[in-house]
């Protein structure tokens, strides 16, 4: 059974600092997703990572995937207040539905 663990679950960052959110999954997965959720809103797709060594960047966010370690990371560079949200990673294998981590609630403070 595929399980997904994220850490940290809560993260308070100062503006301008860098930080990384970690996502571990328990069994072989061929797709790893990162989503953002603002309070009271639905999920916004950030990245889909499909292969070992995949790295994708959008603005201050960069995601990577290491399938051998069963680990994905979401790196935040020079955080700004607008990045405050909850970030979820999710994994799946084959045609199975996504399994979500518990989410990381990020708060960027001045």
């Amino acid at each position: 059974e595929l399980k997904v663990e994220q850490n940290p679950l809560f993260l308070s960052m100062q503006e301008g600092k860098n930080y990384t959110i970690y996502c571990n999954y328990s069994t072989t997965s061929d797709r790893l997703y990162w989503y953002r959720q603002d309070p009271g809103k639905s999920l916004e797709s950030l990245f889909v990572l499909l292969s070992n060594g995949a790295v994708k960047q959008e603005g201050r966010l960069m995601a990577s995937l290491d399938t051998k370690a069963r680990l994905s990371t979401l790196h935040i560079t020079a955080a700004v207040h607008d990045l405050s949200a909850t970030y979820f990673c999710a994994a799946s294998s084959g045609n199975t539905p996504l399994v979500f981590g518990k989410g990381t609630r990020l708060s960027v403070i001045a």
Partner: protein, 116 residues
């Protein structure tokens, strides 16, 4: 990307009643799912909505409580039956993008349900 709409966007219902949530997609999709997100929690898969056949339910979810219809490749409904306050959640419809969309999985805006 697939554009998904859900109705209603929110509702307040009394214990013991039922609510049907509609999900409409702007393109034909093979895979459609229903998720639940309880307050402050992550997403939990309720079921996979199969076109032309019965939905596939995850452990802990049953058809009598959450009947699902999927009459075609663009539409599905989820009914929350005999509601109790524990059913208060956001219910989200999700689809996997079609050809050329790189296996993206998209989510609808959600239906926020409060049961009193």
């Amino acid at each position: 990307s697939a554009v998904i709409s859900q109705k209603p966007s929110r509702d307040i219902c009394q214990r013991g009643t039922s609510l049907t949530i509609q999900c409409q997609v702007d393109s034909q999709v093979t895979m459609m799912f229903w998720y639940r997100q309880q307050p402050g929690q992550s997403l939990t898969l309720i079921a996979t909505a199969n076109q032309g056949s019965e939905a596939t339910y995850e452990s802990g979810f049953v058809i009598d409580k959450f009947p699902i219809s999927r009459p075609n490749l663009t539409f599905s409904t989820l009914t929350v039956s005999n509601m109790s306050p524990e059913d208060s959640s956001i219910y989200l419809c999700s689809v996997v993008g079609g050809e050329g969309q790189g296996l993206e999985q998209y989510f609808g805006p959600g239906t926020r349900l409060t049961v009193t």
